[in-house]
Symmetry: C2
Subunit: 196 residues, 2 copies
DNA sequence: TCAATAATTGCACTCAGTGCAAAAATTGAT
DNA sequence: ATCAATTTTTGCACTGAGTGCAATTATTGA
């Protein structure tokens, strides 16, 4: 058993680099000119590849933006599995999201959030991100609690994401005055207080 | 004050008819060949108009499908305003959604739901519909309860839509064995039981 | 150095969506 | 019925996203 039987060949390294270059060029252009006004040709040119090659790295234009976002889905699953398995499902989800909230970078978030609001297609995508998150939380909880009713875990997943959305909303409204985690904490508490 | 100062001129009537013809032709084609495989040319041809004219009636392809869906948003707002204004915000939302659930037609829903699952763009749109619903519920509640904290009403709106989504999910999983309203009722109860 | 494999590219294509200006239909008035 | 104003419909040409294919180029292991 070797940790790295392939010491990262040239191919893999270049691939990673190119992918990263495209993502960076894309985000850059989006922030500079707006999402819709940025064409694939521009991104490709800025990344030093052909338009056709772009599609070997990303399935679509919006996936460039979703790429960074979708990391959160796998992160949250890992965090759920890392939670102490005692406590209710919702507490586990809350713990994981609190954890996740810590890894949000305020400045970066506020910038991309602005993009999300501007473009119609991106608004849909933002939400697609939340759907991924729901799924990831559900997967994590299912793995951690194989004996609990799927029904309940599904419910908890959706509610947890609602809490996160509420938190992000007020966080953005208040220009990130406090760390996101505080808003997440607050959202969960308000959720428990309000639903009865 | 006249109810119909313009007794519906020929123009307006034709416009309504054409709009309806397009929607019907679109839904028809979608169900027959799938969403992605249906082109605007086909829809236009089936509706007896030019491709260009299509865009005078619908802003985009998916709006043909969203048209029927987005009615629900205004319906739910009306239903909220029609609820007895006593009781908590969440009970009002639940009442309205129970009411709305009654107007869902099972067979039609199951068919369009299949479409929604097939196409990526449509999945986004489905969710856009839920966002509209959230907003509509929030608007309705805000109007009915101008003195309650927006925070709380927003929270209740999102939670209510989560309940609806959970209900629709199991409803579809169980092939509409029971009327949707029952699942909605159940979802709200589970919500209250699970969150604490 | 060579052959297998994978990445890059160009080209031609389909389809959604938009701007523009001409042609056809509807309207209200005479 | 006729006419001018207004609205609707249409055709045409265009941009931009995304795909299939086949040729070219780079990387790999031997």
């Amino acid at each position: 058993m070797n940790d790295a039987p392939k010491p990262e060949g040239l191919r893999e390294r270049k691939r990673r680099e190119t992918s990263h270059r495209i993502a960076a060029a894309g985000l850059n252009a989006f922030l500079a000119k707006g999402y819709d006004a940025t064409t694939l040709d521009e991104i490709a040119a800025a990344a030093g590849i052909s338009r056709r090659t772009f599609f070997h790295y990303f399935k679509s234009k919006d996936e460039v933006l979703l790429a960074s976002l979708s990391n959160y889905a796998s992160m949250v699953k890992a965090m759920i599995l890392a939670e102490p398995p005692s406590g209710s499902a919702i507490d586990i989800a809350r713990g994981a999201l609190l954890n996740l909230a810590g890894s949000f970078h305020a400045s970066e978030m506020m910038a991309t959030a602005k993009l999300m609001r501007e473009s119609k297609t991106l608004r849909s995508r933002t939400h697609a991100g939340y759907l991924q998150l729901e799924q990831a939380i559900f997967d994590g909880l299912s793995e951690l609690r194989p004996d609990e009713a799927r029904n309940s875990l599904r419910l908890v997943s959706l509610v947890a994401v609602v809490a996160l959305r509420l938190a992000v909303e007020t966080w953005q409204q208040q220009q990130a005055r406090h760390p996101l985690a505080e808003y997440v904490q607050d959202a969960f508490e308000r959720l428990k207080a309000e639903i009865r």
